[in-house]
Symmetry: C2
């Protein structure tokens, strides 16, 4: 998606060899106009997937998922992080390891909001090693018995192996911008 | 907002005397169609406030703020919870005490995304004791020198004193549903 790549080049910040900061427009300040274009693009890419629900993880996935959901006319369910008493006890959970932060986080979705006949589009801001996606897939498919009909990612770190592994398992993954490398602050797309 | 009150009565769950669970449509599963009506209503109520930015707190405020922002054509900035290295060191912070959870949380907004000439609409899902709002006001007004031009709340707990105190300080607070009491599972509006 050219508009997005352009924005990453203009306002993104490459740090070291594997971090790209996009908090100017995507995950701290949010350019909602750009999000609408991202949402339309996800709808174009997954229009044929007959989804009935979008699932994401708090926090930065929520805005993207809600804006995209308008074009699909489906509800959003977001996985909550940490033990949250407001979710209740009837919860599917998965453990998500973050290589970046070196931490483990429990994510949870109430059993009330995932059913065996759901066709789910997973949406997230970043795909790197795929740990968050794998946690959601475990919840959606293995635990709830539903189907992951697509995975829509705003920015994929192509130099990490999450996307490759998900595609090898047969998932329909669409990333709107794939970063091939970050060198001396320069962000290069694949 | 009748549509919202109706939904709270149909799908909300009153627990004890002070908790209302709306995770069916607002803060776990999100009915984006309802969110659009909420966003339009906020726009109607604050159209004259000449805002240029919406500020909220992760996580459940983000979807509401992003959908509403479309009708104002302004960006969203969400305060991050906890110490987050991705925000950087140049951050306004405030301490938010939660009476419900009995915990203290640091919230932070990068100095890059708040300026002295900003006219901010604060949006959040709930207003109870007003601690989250007070933290945001401290960041926006006292620290950044900007102006809070309005506070838009989806559900206010009218039996707690946050809204009353904010209005007494002169803030333009609009709550789309004000709950007066919760008794034996029954939710009564003010």
């Amino acid at each position: 998606m050219e508009l997005l790549k352009q924005r990453i080049l203009e306002q993104g910040e490459g740090i070291g060899s594997d971090i790209v900061k996009v908090d100017m427009f995507l995950n701290h300040q949010i350019d909602v106009e750009l999000l609408c274009e991202i949402g339309k693009e996800f709808h174009r890419l997954f229009a044929a997937a007959s989804i009935n629900k979008i699932v994401t993880i708090e926090a930065s996935g929520i805005g993207i998922a809600c804006i995209a959901a308008q074009y699909f006319s489906v509800p959003v369910v977001f996985a909550k992080k940490g033990q949250n008493k407001n979710v209740g006890s009837d919860v599917y959970t998965a453990n998500v390891h973050s290589f970046t932060k070196g931490t483990d986080t429990v994510i949870g979705i109430s059993k009330k909001y995932l059913h065996a006949d759901d066709r789910v589009l997973i949406i997230d801001d970043f795909l790197a090693n795929g740990e968050a996606c794998n946690g959601l897939i475990d919840i959606i498919e293995r635990q709830a018995g539903a189907e992951v009909a697509g995975i829509g990612i705003v920015i994929e770190k192509g130099f990490q192996l999450g996307g490759q592994a998900l595609r090898a398992r047969g998932y329909h993954v669409e990333s709107l911008a794939v970063i091939q490398s970050i060198e001396n602050g320069n962000i290069l797309f694949g």
